[in-house]
Amino acid sequence: MSARMPAHHDKLKGKVQAQQLVEFDRVDFSYGANSILRNLTVGFPRGKLVAIMGGSGSGKTTLLRLIGGQIKAQQGVVRFDGEELSTMSHARLYAARRRMGMLFQRGALFTDLSVFENVAFPIREHLQLPEAMVRDLVLMKLHAVGLRGAHKLMPVELSGGMARRVALARAIALDPDLIMYDEPFAGLDPISMAVIANLIKRLNLALGVTSIVVTHDVAESFKIVDFVCFLSHGEIVAQGTPEQMLASDEPYVRQFVEGHIDGPVRFHYPGSPYDADLGLGS
């Protein structure tokens, strides 16, 4: 995981940046008055599997949307392969997106298309290939996620885990350089969770693809990722390997990893004193 680079180490900075596929440099983002990311500086090394962890509302999904160019940073710079996303033309941004794959939390499969057609969609849209080749490619992608036999099914016929695997096959259809996973384990049974975790790791190793996993599932993600980055209130509070995080004394990391109900993240939503609300105060 890249730490913040000292400003005077320009040569070193350039060398380190070249190793990053995605970089955030002092990024601020807010929805209206609600600040989501604050002065965020982080990098995602090529070929590595990185988990972004944090509670709900910590800015994890916003981070993915910034990388995809779906929203723009209000301050700071987000770079993909060295190129600033916010200044890209429409055509350039779409060219960059062809090098990205994204697995959405609920799969986001096209409900009017079969499993086969869902995976074929990006191939048909971007590549002028003979139908026989499209078929082979789609079946290969579906085979990689273990669902070649389900290619005729419609999305409504799939379980949650299967839908996510189909979405994963679709995300890798164009052999991307970067795959982003938005809460890939949410709402899955233990078997499906293990299957998805295994697929994420296998794809990362087999394709050498840079992977960013946004999750709050400690057990499953710590087994597969190279680095972990803890995000709280839009800021990085800790980062390192899973082993380093498990040994960390950082109170937020401890609360998150051990699942304490109270700590830096309070159990009670901020409000007026309890006795005052009940009219018991003097």
């Binding site: 995809g68 779906q70 997106r97 994204m102 609920r106 499969l109 096209f110 990006p122 849209e125």
Partner: protein
Amino acid sequence: MSTAVVRGLRVVGRLTVDGVWRLGAASRFMGIVLLRSATTFRRFRLLVNEVYFAGALSLIIIVVSGLFVGLVLGLQGYETLKRYGSAEAVGTLVALSLVRELGPVVSALLFASRAGSAITAEIGIMKSTEQLSAMEMMAVDPYSRVVAPMFWGGFISMPLLAAIFSAMGIFGGYLIAVVVIGVDAGAFWSQMQSNVDLWDDIFNGVIKSIVFGFAVTAIAVFEGYDAPPTAEGVSHAVTRTVVTSALAVLALDFVLTAFMFTGI
């Protein structure tokens, strides 16, 4: 000034600003849709699918409604004209009522209810289930791939549906006046032929249906794309499509009629 008046003025001001802002957003949205329409015509299959979705699937309601409106017009027209000894003019009355007014207006209202609401719901649900975001992340522009084909499919379908509505209405008028009541068929058709002008009546009716088609389909695609990504948001967007389309059609009809037929 009393507090109630100030509060009232604030509400009016807020509604006005919101309305102007929304109109601006819709105009910008439609500008983008029109600019990114090339794919729709390059990939003709997309357009054909949407014409089927918006047009062919609306045929039943248009055909049946047109027939019944024609039947009623024939009955009412005959009863009124009979008092003045001009029962043969019922064909003219039916045809002029349909091609000038009822054809474009009623078919636009039905189109908004059937196809407009379906377009809004489809785009809104695609948005709320992240299908549009997924498309964007696959480097496929949702404006080009989804919104523009739906817009053009609806826009092309609307004048055709209005023409079918009018044709069915005239057929309904013929059934009731000639077949049931016994008005002379020759007089029915010849009076219609001599009194309905191709440009002043039929062409103006077609222009109306084109304008209504643009308005209804533009409202439908905008409301769908602008819908908050929740079940309630999509439901409200569908309601807004039907209500706004109906009001827009009636208001536009008044303006167009004033220009076309009264020489204002």
